[in-house]
Symmetry: C2
Amino acid sequence: MRTGKLCVPNTTKTMKAIVQRVTKATVTVGEEQITSIGRGLCVLLGISVEDTQKDAEYIVRKILNLRLFEDETGRAWSKSVMDRDFEVLCVSQFTLQCILKGNKPDFHSAMPAELARPFYSSILENMRSTYKPELIKDGLFGAKMQVHIQNDGPVTIELISPTGPVDPKQLSKQEKQQQRKEKMRSKGPSESGREKGALRSRQDPNASSGAEGDVSSEREP
Amino acid sequence: MRTGKLCVPNTTKTMKAIVQRVTKATVTVGEEQITSIGRGLCVLLGISVEDTQKDAEYIVRKILNLRLFEDETGRAWSKSVMDRDFEVLCVSQFTLQCILKGNKPDFHSAMPAELARPFYSSILENMRSTYKPELIKDGLFGAKMQVHIQNDGPVTIELISPTGPVDPKQLSKQEKQQQRKEKMRSKGPSESGREKGALRSRQDPNASSGAEGDVSSEREP
């Protein structure tokens, strides 16, 4: 159905995180700079009315473990923010829970502020206890802010929590299964070129940049 | 199916745009600043292998017409970038076409650079001819860049092109139908409160900020 196709991407109620790899990022409220980070990730986090602890756990795990950084030898997409001891700046961003009514954004899918505030705090707490508390920075929930993002690459990833009731243990298992399946598939003739492409780009010192031209070998179908 | 639920959001191949409302934005390559905008939108654009002219037309129309700005009286979510004569900085961002293999990003869903380059140029051309060419700025396709984004609010919207073969004329009609349906619904008793909420926040001079606390009345279910 056409209507279904049109609406599905924007109306699915899941937690959304826009993860930008940054050289630095700061938050100012009025004239005052309230926080800043150096190299790491700037995360804009949109919580939906239907999100639960499980969505939060998935998103936190992905933010902290996503391999968006090069290693010390310049091999791209090999290290996470935790691996490199980099920082995370997290800012609540309800506008990510947007449904378009024509050209007007509608935010009724976003968790109301009075519920989102403690939930968001618990997500930050989870991130701090999983990683190092001093490396997790925060905006000012509910305030009008200027978020200065120096997107490095640029590299931007969208994270969406799995919908529906999924057991987090089950999820990890599932992810492992997916990885195993990928490895199996890459042994097939049609996939070996792809794998080689990935290896090529890993060995390419320029590939550390993550910019368009540099990883084109990874992008070839 | 659990696997389906887990994979669907990240594997659907559609054009994606992360639209950030900005006070200013600049792009530097090495030490050189190659472009900049003042108030307006910074758009990170991810083109998938399956995208067509129709996806591009939808995304361009939405970028230019989305009501993310306040009007001269401070009424929030009422004016588009075109209405306010603001600028657009567009940067190609293939990493938005990311499929996670465990914690490693895979970019095979992104359109290969040699095809994406002319396609991306045509999208910019479309934007320039629809709006004012001098107000549409561009990064440097394929280069390693630092994109300095001063996200104002913050306000960040994700746009996803409709999947499948949709006639753009049909799409506009469909959008109009949706709007009409919304208007009809808002006359019902359960929706009138919502509409009032929207009006309240429109009349609130602080609501122009688009920040969490300010538009909470719009967010109440």
